[in-house]
């Protein structure tokens, strides 16, 4: 199959997957209790309950309810967020900006660090850098994110007393405008170096906490695919041409080893997304993740549904991009099922 056809095919399947996901999300909101439970109280009479049911259409057949909900979601109406006491669509962008800033910061560091560490280890197979990378990546994969965050907090906040909590210093927050909601960019737009530093300073620990696991996964993948590529004939052929080891590694082996790593990078985006939930709880970081945690504890289904729907669609899109990139990069790949 041509790459172009493959992309077209994936794009065709995409709406199908999105609809499937939305059905699951909708089903979730109807399982184990009434979706309107949050609006009800013990004092209400049967009539009052019926009226609320009527208003939210919950006495309609399920498919009708689904269509009504899906149509609303398409228009951007994701319901009323109980935890924030505001429409979901109003709160969502602010929270998203916060979490995106965190996830992107963590992701960039993880990709850069993971690929270089993996390359370094793979090229020195079974020597100490490799052993170090192995310990690093295995413990990264086994580390509970919340515990790692707490360890960092104990060290930097409790013991050293240098780490900040939250997202910004209140004074600094008030000093500049926040048109984008991404504080680093806001600070740059405002030309305020102090605010930029404050934003970065508040990002460092959460980003490290969030990025560790992802770094570990990328390191491991990069290392093993590099080891595999180094065993290929073309690497020997490159050496037989008289190329220095550095170039054999950089131009030949690493280039091909990056191809399978790309898929992992895409998948790890899911890790970053879900990691924000606990990281934001620990660092009192006001983003999507903490919003979700609050919603979960309060049984606020509209918020949960909006969150799950949004992350899944985002995750789908990212995986689509990654797959297409992979198909493009790997000329050997036989596309198709």
């Amino acid at each position: 199959m041509q790459v172009r056809d493959y992309v077209a095919r994936r794009l065709m399947i995409l709406p199908l997957l999105i609809v499937g996901t939305s059905i699951i999300v909708f089903a979730l909101s109807r399982v184990g209790g009434s979706p309107i439970a949050i609006y009800l109280s013990h004092e209400m009479t049967a009539d009052e309950v019926a009226e609320i049911e009527e208003r939210y259409g919950v006495n309609e057949p399920l498919p009708v309810q689904y269509l009504a909900w899906a149509a609303g979601a398409l228009r951007g109406d994701l319901g009323w967020s109980g935890v924030s006491s505001a429409p979901v669509r109003q709160i969502f962008p602010k929270k998203l900006a916060a979490s995106a800033e965190l996830a992107v910061a963590a992701g960039l560091v993880a990709v850069a660090l993971g690929i270089s560490l993996g390359t370094f280890a793979g090229a020195r197979r079974d020597r100490w850098p490799d052993h170090f990378a192995r310990i690093f990546s295995i413990s990264g994969a086994s580390m509970p994110v919340f515990w790692f965050g707490i360890l960092l907090l104990i060290l930097f906040w409790v013991i050293l007393g240098i780490a900040p909590i939250g997202r910004s210093d209140p004074g600094v927050f008030a000093r500049i405008a926040h048109p984008t909601g991404v504080y680093t960019i806001d600070a740059i737009l405002a030309g305020d170096a102090g605010a930029l530093w404050d934003a970065i300073w508040h990002l460092i620990l959460p980003a490290i906490t969030l990025g560790y696991g992802t770094t570990a996964i990328i390191t491991r993948m990069m290392r093993s695919s590099l080891v595999e590529e180094l065993g290929e004939d073309y690497v020997d052929a490159a050496r037989a041409k008289g190329l220095p080891e550095r170039i054999v590694l950089r131009r030949h082996a690493r280039r091909n080893a990056l191809i399978p790593t790309v898929t992992v990078v895409g998948l790890s985006f899911g890790f970053l997304l879900q990691g924000t939930v606990v990281v934001e709880i620990i660092f009192r970081y006001p983003g999507l993740g903490r919003w979700l945690a609050d919603a979960v504890l309060r049984g606020d289904r509209a918020t949960i549904m909006a969150y799950v729907l949004f992350t899944s669609v985002l995750f789908l899109l990212i995986n689509l991009i990654v797959d297409v990139l992979y198909a493009y990069l790997d000329r050997r790949v036989v596309l198709g099922e």
Partner: protein, 268 residues
């Protein structure tokens, strides 16, 4: 190394009633000692200290191992069975069944696993049973996909053709040739998941989706977290360390198994 930790932790889980005096009526709940709140490690009667609500940390750690064992064994066995059945149907029969099943799998995979499990558990309400259900509902998909891929791969082996040539039936070829040779990566994945499931379960209970006061490591970390600013580090540290150890042990063993079982690594 990993194996030693596993044996120790599983031993601890199995021997929990012997190592401690089980709490009544529900031994899975931590006993509360309202007279000893926030005691640091080394306190008589509470060698590893107590929580804000007077729970004995040592009891929590030991019975937490039991909870983790229960969680991981139940989830992994359920998901392996369901995944194998669905993956086999798709991979072995192929055609339309395969397409439909794999589309469903794709839909499930399009939601990040922790978030999916979180949403399910949230909807079902906070309890360990619901955590188990939620994780199982998310995890079977991975196995289905893994097994399907393996079966399609193994099906192309000449020994499958050889079995057809001697006239064996499809079902027996599946049972004798295809399935046993497809299981290796599944076994590795299941081992890794024994750790992974506990990690996710602990995360869910850390967020607050388990019963309060449950002897579970995630619950303990969560309880201890509030005291960190006051310098009460021990609860979170010990409990989180247990989660880490558990998950590390299974990762180590799983990794070693992959190296041994991976045919590509032969002779390297």
């Amino acid at each position: 190394m990993g194996l030693i930790i596993i044996v120790a932790l599983v031993g601890m889980a199995l021997l929990a009633p012997v190592l401690t005096v089980p709490n009544t009526p529900d031994p899975a709940q931590m006993p509360r000692d309202w007279g000893a709140l926030n005691e640091p490690p080394g306190t008589p009667g509470h060698p590893l200290g107590t929580t804000t609500s007077g729970g004995d940390v040592l009891y929590g750690l030991i019975w937490g191992a039991r909870t983790s064992l229960k969680l991981s064994v139940i989830v992994v066995s359920i998901t392996v069975i369901i995944g194998t059945i669905i993956g086999s149907l798709a991979g072995f029969l192929g055609g339309r069944i395969d397409t439909v099943l794999m589309r469903i799998v794709d839909v499930f995979l399009s939601i990040p696993e922790l978030i999916f499990a979180l949403a399910i558990a949230a909807v079902l309400g906070p309890s360990l049973r619901n955590i188990i259900l939620a994780i199982a509902a998310v995890f079977w998909v991975k196995y289905a996909r893994l097994i399907r891929g393996q079966i399609i791969h193994v099906k192309q082996n000449e020994y499958v053709d050889a079995a057809r040539v001697i006239g064996d039936s499809r079902l027996r070829i599946y049972l004798k040739d295809i399935l046993p040779n497809s299981m290796t990566p599944l076994v590795v994945q299941a081992t890794l998941d024994m750790g992974h499931v506990v990690l996710i379960g602990a995360t869910l209970s850390f967020i607050g989706l388990a019963e309060a006061g449950l002897a579970e490591w995630g619950v303990l970390v969560s309880e201890g977290q509030t005291g960190i600013s006051a310098g009460r580090w021990w609860v979170s540290l010990f409990a989180g360390g247990m989660i880490f150890l558990w998950s590390l042990a299974f990762n180590l063993v799983g990794d070693a198994m992959r190296d041994v079982l991976d045919p590509r690594m032969e002779g390297r």
